[in-house]
């Protein structure tokens, strides 16, 4: 800070000199200069009258917009290099205070269950927005079933297919409460165990001693649909005993199971009042269908992982962004042309308003709905001259659909934290 202050005082004295020299300048102009020169050397230079403040309008437009022309989009690149506009005397380098002033987030909507979210991120480079998106999909951890111990499976679905299906079921549990298993033995801090034991009644059994009603129904053999809600959480860990232990010691010592839990998970305060399981709409996921007499008995172990290892650990169904569409009418469009153009747009971007004398004028009512299908600029050069379709380069409409482990805003926060920790790692390795 002290250094900055010194600099400031220097620039101020310099300015006084220049002021004294150029007495012809109007007073208001020099006052303006004084106000803007606060804050250091670059600001002083920027405040000089012959230094351009802004890019020429057409270049500024190319810098901030993608143009969706009839043949191809143009000006699609984002200009990152600090000296990109050096030839016109403009500084394009990054300044944190500038970023802080320009950056905005606007939440557009949450779905009723709070698991989908749409928000606008304004004033950020695609490199960073894309990093957030990539991290959301591939690097924010969740819990998913990784190991399946099948004791019995007489259903039609093969063991490995069944195991794969189980892996893909989203589990509604906060992954931050767990550790990565790595090579450790499964314990209460890194593993969730589920039990699945379902059996479909046999045809014959039902036939034997059932009432008349049942006998009438017997033409339809019994069927069971196994759902995600049939998976029961085992807070005390596995109930399957290891085979070697089983044969050696019958009842003398406590046999070992496939997990080594030191305590029951539901005795831990973090799980005592929210049971691990499958949330309301997600508990209805089909796992298998059982015919008469078929049975599935298994245990599944869920562990923490990330989406880049396997998509089952991805915490989002999708996370995507699009740039804000901008529809600009280059000339007034009235009457018949207005009607035609309104009809042309398949998503209803345009509206018609009445002006005086029964005339109608076209307005752009819903530019956000525009998909840039370019239907409105097809049909001859005259249409291209009427409408311009653009995208705003630094305005991202971000959508996150969570699979239920964490709400989307928390997921996004976690993603940003992961990017921070990546940076931190590089810094610490370089120091």
């Amino acid at each position: 800070m002290a250094k900055k202050d010194q600099k400031m005082s220097e620039t101020e004295t310099e300015e006084e000199e220049t002021e004294a020299e150029s007495m012809s300048e109007s007073e208001s102009g020099s006052e303006e200069q004084k106000q803007e020169s606060k804050g250091g050397g670059i600001d002083y230079i920027m405040s000089l009258p012959d230094v351009p403040r802004n890019l020429p309008p057409h270049v500024e437009l190319q810098r901030t917009r993608v143009f969706a022309n009839i043949d191809a989009p143009t000006h699609t690149d984002s200009i990152q290099y600090s000296g990109a506009f050096a030839s016109v005397g403009l500084d394009n380098s990054f300044r944190l205070d500038q970023f802080r002033n320009n950056f905005r987030v606007e939440v557009i909507r949450f779905s009723d269950d709070g698991m989908d979210m749409e928000f606008d991120m304004i004033g950020i480079d695609p490199a960073i927005a894309n990093a957030f998106r990539r991290i959301l999909i591939a690097e924010v951890p969740t819990m998913a079933i990784e190991k399946v111990f099948i004791a019995n499976n007489t259903s039609l679905i093969q063991d490995e297919v069944l195991a794969h299906r189980l892996g893909l079921i989203p589990i509604s549990v906060d992954p931050r409460l767990f550790e990565y298993a790595e090579n450790n033995a499964p314990n209460e801090r890194n593993t969730i165990v589920f039990k699945l034991h379902v059996q479909c009644a046999k045809d014959l059994e039902e036939e034997k001693g059932q009432s008349k009603k049942k006998k009438e129904e017997k033409k339809v053999p019994p069927r069971i649909t196994v759902k995600a809600k049939d998976l029961k959480w085992l807070p005390k860990g596995s109930e399957f005993y290891l085979e070697s232990e089983d044969s050696n010691s019958n009842s003398s010592s406590k046999s070992k199971t496939y997990t080594s839990f030191t305590c029951s998970q539901d005795s831990l305060p973090k799980f005592s009042n929210n049971k691990i399981g499958f949330k309301e709409p997600l508990d209805d996921i089909n796992i298998a269908r059982l015919g008469p007499g078929q049975e599935i008995e298994l245990e599944a172990q869920a562990v923490k992982g990330v989406g880049k290892t396997h998509a089952k650990w991805s915490p989002v169904a999708t996370a995507w962004y699009r740039m804000l569409p901008e529809v600009v009418l280059l000339e007034e469009i009235e009457d018949e042309d207005a009607e035609t153009l309104k009809e042309k747009c398949p998503v209803g971007v345009f509206d018609i308003e009445d002006i005086a004398n029964g005339r109608k004028r076209l307005t752009v009512a819903r530019p956000r709905a525009c998909t840039l299908c370019r239907e409105c600029i097809r049909g001859g050069e005259e249409w291209e001259k009427r409408v311009s379709l653009r995208r705003v380069k630094d305005h991202f409409i971000f959508t996150i659909e969570s699979t239920g482990a964490l709400p989307p805003e928390v997921l996004f926060t976690e993603a940003v934290k992961i990017l921070e920790s990546k940076c931190e790692r590089v810094i610490s390795e370089l120091s």
């Binding site: 990054f94 970023f99 987030v105 960073i128 004791a151 990017l419």
Partner: protein
């Protein structure tokens, strides 16, 4: 008694939890610099290539953006030498400042941006929820 099936490849083969990351920095040897992620020369430290393991476009592209916005940088870019290597090379050439410091500053800038993004989002979400109270409280609040 029971068959064991893995639902996919073993976890620890690919996903590396944060704790083991520090040991994964490149072990290449280049000139005098051994077991470092920086590949350059002692004579001129303004140009260097940094080899980051277990990183990809996610970090490299963001850092490249941040580097390019630094006026001390004359060139910066990144490449992934082979898609099946978990490695990314970041090239930094500066107008004189040590490349290592410039890269550190770039990461610092990125971190500051992230922190600002995080706090801005928190405010925006809190504001939105205040204006539109959720119908079902228990669904949106995860404890």
């Amino acid at each position: 008694m029971s068959d064991i099936y893995l639902t996919n490849r073993l976890t620890y083969s690919l996903s590396l939890p944060p704790r083991t990351l520090s040991s994964t920095i490149s072990q290449w040897c280049c000139r005098e610099l051994l077991t470092k992620m920086e590949h350059g020369s002692y004579a001129d430290n303004s140009n260097a290539t940094f080899s980051l393991t277990d990183e990809d476009h996610t970090l490299a592209n963001a850092v490249r953006f941040s580097l390019n916005q630094d006026p001390r940088v004359s060139f910066s870019g990144y490449s992934i030498p082979h898609p099946s290597d978990n490695r990314v090379n970041i090239r930094v050439q500066t107008t004189g400042a040590p490349a290592r410091e410039v890269l550190k500053d770039a990461c610092q800038d990125l971190m500051m941006m992230c922190q600002h993004v995080r706090s801005t989002l928190d405010v925006a979400v809190a504001d939105f929820k205040l204006r539109n109270p959720p119908k079902k409280d228990e669904d949106t609040d995860m404890k």
